[in-house]
């Protein structure tokens, strides 16, 4: 950066950068550095750890599928229309973003818990939510959806409206315009939103514990497994944490790669 920053200001910038870098990277490095890699890997092989990993994978994938299938058209609808109460609707949709996870757990219990009408109806229909894997998916969807929706709405709003007009003048009905023009044009933003939602879902703890409980193979996702083990088997906790860090890093990297070479131009 060629500015006239010389002397004390340049030093200040460097110090600030170094401090920020250290603060953010040290805990992450520590996860990998505290125990020899061999120990970490063998800790992962332990049955409970594998169960937790597989469960986290399944439930996060299920939550994401729900979020994308329902959230993408919903975000498109909100982005394109101007109607009374639109700002309020967007705020409502974003609300779970600022909810502490414990509050989210309470909210879910109050809405679809076993003491509620909906919860009982679900149970009668054979769908067990609390203390079951489906409950984990519900909790993950609830906390992660706003991350995707917010990004998706912004991405769809940013589309040049003449592109959508052009699509229609070329004979494409609104559905085809959505699929063939809107989504590809908004794709980098949608991918970023998916990454955010994915990260949030993978790390979800409080709402899951409260709503679905903690049971190996059924509801004990990786964050819950880490919490379960950290007092008794710190190495296992480290190992699982290391995996989550690696997965999160991979997600972040792939998002960067998708956005990088993109050039949406006229």
């Amino acid at each position: 950066m060629r500015t006239a920053a010389g002397g004390w200001f340049a030093v200040l910038l460097t110090v600030a950068l170094a401090a920020a870098l250290t603060f953010l990277t040290l805990p992450i490095v520590a996860i990998f550095a505290q125990q020899p890699p061999g120990e970490l890997i063998s800790a992962l092989g332990e049955e409970g750890a594998l169960d937790a990993l597989w469960l986290s994978l399944r439930t996060t994938a299920a939550a994401l599928v729900l979020i994308l299938l329902v959230g993408t058209p919903a975000a498109y609808g909100i982005a394109l229309r101007r109607f009374r109460g639109r700002a309020l609707l967007i705020t409502l949709v974003e609300l779970p973003l600022v909810l502490p996870p414990a509050v989210a757990g309470i909210a879910l219990l109050a809405a679809v818990g076993p003491a509620t009408l909906l919860g009982r109806a679900a149970q009668d229909a054979g769908l067990q939510l609390t203390l079951a894997t489906a409950g984990v998916v519900v909790a993950l969807t609830f906390v992660a959806a706003p991350f995707y929706l917010r990004q998706a709405i912004a991405s769809f709003e940013a589309i040049d409206p003449t592109l959508l007009d052009a699509s229609r003048t070329l004979g494409a009905a609104p559905a085809r315009t959505f699929w063939r023009v809107a989504i590809p044009t908004a794709l980098p933003g949608l991918v970023a939103g998916t990454a955010l939602a994915l990260g949030r879902a993978l790390g979800e703890f409080g709402a899951t514990l409260m709503f679905a409980g903690s049971f190996q193979g059924v509801t004990q996702t990786v964050p819950l497994a880490i919490y379960d083990r950290f007092a008794t088997d710190f190495t296992a906790a480290l190992a699982l944490s290391a995996v989550l860090v690696a997965v999160s890093a991979a997600i972040l990297l792939s998002v960067k790669l998708v956005r990088g070479p993109d050039a949406v131009a006229r």
């Binding site: 007009d165 003048t169 494409a172 131009a265 006229r266």
Partner: protein, 358 residues
């Protein structure tokens, strides 16, 4: 589908302006909508295309009724066969040039789409750029891709929104030529929007001048320039366009031999077929024989065709023999005794003579 004329009559509210327009365009005819920004020109195009839903109106194209609010008929945009060229082209950035064109061909069998798209681009001299993404194309190339895409479906009407304004001056000339050819070959009604009267004069058969949502006057370019219905039209229909052949003269000037007679001197331009434009208020008139010892280099013998008073100004229609318009004060017209059928000498400076490649 046999092409028929475009007929529209719409009324709707656009913010603070009420849009109230009735137009007819015959197949093969090009009607230009000219006027300042905010006049509602683009809204007319959007209404025809179905992107804007007027409160009241009727739009028909050939035998099809696209809009009839009285009977509750509204054909959605995607079912109207309009070729729309957007001002900024609106090319799909994630698709290559040929895929952009093929987007319009969804009714054709899948196997035929790519060859047809490539062939169409070929006819626009873009065959070798067919696989390029819009971001890597130049402005002129993008305009041609957008045009090809708009024509791919063999539309029943062609709607062009400021087709040349996004191009630099040099590209504009070639593009203008090409566009003229496209308009002629398309043989469908063409609605062209422009804020540049000279562009309208060059490309269109008739011009409708719009202001504040209504058509103020309709007619040929020379009729509007010669007999403006109001000061607004007079101001707007500024330049008159003459055609001729240019060559280099001495001392670096450009000499233009006008079609039909007359020679002009200009200060810049390139040899070849050109269009010359001069603003009416830059043209002075004198009685024939009274030589004018001033610095103006261009003198043409003209016949007075019409004299139209617009407030304190008078538009004098002349024939040189190409139509020419001079704007004089009423006093001068009286003193010179100008009347239809009389002769005069029109003079204007070389510096005021704008030469554009044609």
């Amino acid at each position: 589908m046999s092409p028929g004329g475009l007929s529209m009559d719409v009324r709707t509210q656009l913010g603070e302006v009420e849009l109230d327009v009735a137009l007819d365009v015959a197949p093969g005819e090009c009607l230009a909508l000219a006027g300042p920004s905010g006049a509602g020109k683009t809204s007319v195009l959007r209404a025809v295309a179905g992107l804007l839903a007027p409160v009241r109106g009727r739009i028909t194209c050939g035998q099809e009724v696209w809009l009839d609010t009285a009977r509750g008929v509204t054909l959605p945009a995607e079912r109207r066969r309009c070729g729309y060229l957007f001002q900024e082209y609106a090319l799909f950035g994630h698709l290559s040039a040929w895929r952009n064109v093929a987007y319009a061909l969804h009714e054709s069998p899948r196997a035929a789409r790519e060859p047809r798209a490539r062939a169409l681009l070929e006819s626009f001299a873009l065959g070798d750029r067919a696989d390029a993404r819009p971001a890597t194309l130049s402005g002129g190339e993008r305009q041609r891709v957008a045009l090809a895409r708009a024509l791919a479906r063999r539309p029943a009407a062609l709607l062009l929104d400021e087709p040349l304004s996004a191009l630099d001056a040099r590209t504009r000339a070639a593009a203008s030529r090409e566009l003229g050819a496209v308009i002629r070959d398309a043989a469908v009604p063409v609605l062209l929007v422009t804020h540049d009267f000279a562009e309208a004069a060059l490309l269109a058969d008739r011009i409708a001048v719009m202001d504040q949502g209504s058509v103020v006057q309709q007619g040929t370019a020379s009729a509007l320039a010669a007999e403006p219905a109001s000061a607004f039209v007079a101001d707007f229909s500024g330049a008159v366009v003459l055609t001729g052949e240019a060559r280099r003269g001495e001392e670096g000037v450009i000499m233009v031999a006008l079609d039909g007679g007359g020679e002009l001197t200009a200060l810049d331009g390139a040899p070849g077929a050109v269009a010359v434009s001069v603003y009416p208020w830059e043209i002075a008139l004198a009685r024939p024989g009274e030589s004018m010892h001033d610095s103006a280099r261009n003198h043409l013998d003209v016949e007075v065709v019409s004299v139209t008073t617009v407030g304190p100004r008078v538009r004098v229609g002349l024939a040189a023999p190409q139509p020419l318009i001079a704007e004089l004060s009423a006093t001068s017209v009286r003193e010179l005794g100008l009347a239809p059928g009389g002769r005069a000498v029109a003079s204007f400076k070389a510096a005021a003579t704008r030469v554009l490649p044609r």
